[in-house]
Amino acid sequence: MTGLTRDDIDHILKLIDGSDFDSLKLETGDLKLELRRKGAGPATAAPAPSAPAAPAAPAATVPAPVVASGGGSEVPAPLLGTFYHAPKPGAAPFIKVGDTVTEDSVIGIIEVMKLMNQVTAGVAGTVTEILAPNGELVEHGQALIKVQPV
């Protein structure tokens, strides 16, 4: 298979619509296709209180959501909380538009319940947009910044 027609993509979209999946990542030869259901977020159901702690999934199995519209990758908030652009008030922001980031680059801090979580980009590329304002509440999964992958 060397490419996909518009009909093929429509067919795949219908398959996702009728499934329980929120996203699809397909790689075949030179082709790489990532699709995500609009508004898809984390499951809202809490684990049963009696369930033992699940082991953490390896980082590699949780890709940063990617939008297909040519706008680059959106880095999602890994948790709900207050988003800060800088390490402390008055300090320079961790990143600005045009900066190059690696997967481990810190792009901001999310604070919740006195936990200050330094958010890593999870993707390498160039920052094209800062989406979430400084000092405001972000939801789990909300796009924080946009990165054009290298």
Partner: protein
């Protein structure tokens, strides 16, 4: 297991936890970041002196000698939201350490999410720091400062903050940082094991039983808004639940004022 006599009570250092006591360090949370990559398991770092102690959002933490400063560094499984719930695990452990060392519970209470109050004043502070994204955390550092011997003056803390107090001034009881570490590590290991097995429910219940101002009017302030209401409960996600004129509000991130 290492045993140590503490008064009439044998303190047991919890199995599986590392223990290092440093004469001096810049900040125990900074040291935690430096050693996190090579950790085999959770480890307590206690410093008898910090030269660059810090609090939330770059605020200084005043840390005179004789006070307790330590960080528990760990590489937890689970989500960042799970890591945030350790605010409650850590403050419960602090509460129990005070009880174990002083033999008293009167005057002690917890303020959402993790301040320990003694006679209504702030005797300890907790700052959790983690690094990670949607794929998980690389580490979690739980920094804990306790005014064992001396409290900073009111002028040294943020305006409107709870009055700082020390254990010695309030109770006349002198505790060394190393003895405090042993009691805290034991209490933390107990609550952490409960959290790992049964999740947040028993932690929440124990925390609420020690909560200050439950059922009373309190104020939750963020950088951009203020909510005043009756402190109803803490919900299953750790949110502060206030009953306001406009209904119930669950608050995840705020500073609480009484």
């Amino acid at each position: 297991m290492k045993e140590k006599k503490q008064g009439t009570r044998a303190m047991a250092w919890p199995e599986g936890y590392g223990r290092r006591v440093l004469a001096e360090v810049d900040s125990t949370n900074a040291e935690a970041v430096r050693i996190a990559g090579g950790l085999a398991g959770p480890e307590w770092i206690c410093a008898l002196r910090q030269t660059a102690a810090r609090g939330r959002r770059g605020r200084a933490w005043v840390n005179p000698e004789g006070n307790f400063a330590a960080t528990l560094v760990m590489r937890p499984s689970g989500t960042p939201a799970d890591a945030a719930l350790r605010s409650f695990v850590a403050s419960l452990a602090l509460f129990d350490a005070f009880v174990a060392l002083t033999g008293r519970t009167d005057g002690l209470s917890l303020k959402w999410p993790n301040d320990v109050l003694l006679n209504g004043g702030k005797v300890a502070g907790i700052l959790l720091e983690s690094v990670g994204g949607a794929g998980g955390l690389s580490h979690l550092a739980i920094g804990i400062g306790v005014n064992l011997r001396a409290a900073p003056s009111v002028a040294e803390v943020e305006t409107g903050a709870v009055r700082p107090v020390s254990l010695l001034d309030e109770t006349g009881i002198a505790v060394t940082p190393e003895d405090f570490l042993d009691a805290l590590a034991e209490a933390f290991a107990t609550h952490e094991a409960r959290f790992a097995t049964y999740r947040f429910a028993p932690i929440r219940e124990a925390w609420l039983a020690r909560a200050a101002r439950l059922g009373e009017e309190i104020t939750a302030r963020t950088g951009t808004s203020e909510t005043r209401g009756r402190f109803e409960t803490v919900d299953g996600q750790g949110n502060l639940v206030l009953k306001t004129a406009g209904g119930r509000v669950a608050i995840a991130a705020a500073d609480v004022f009484f």
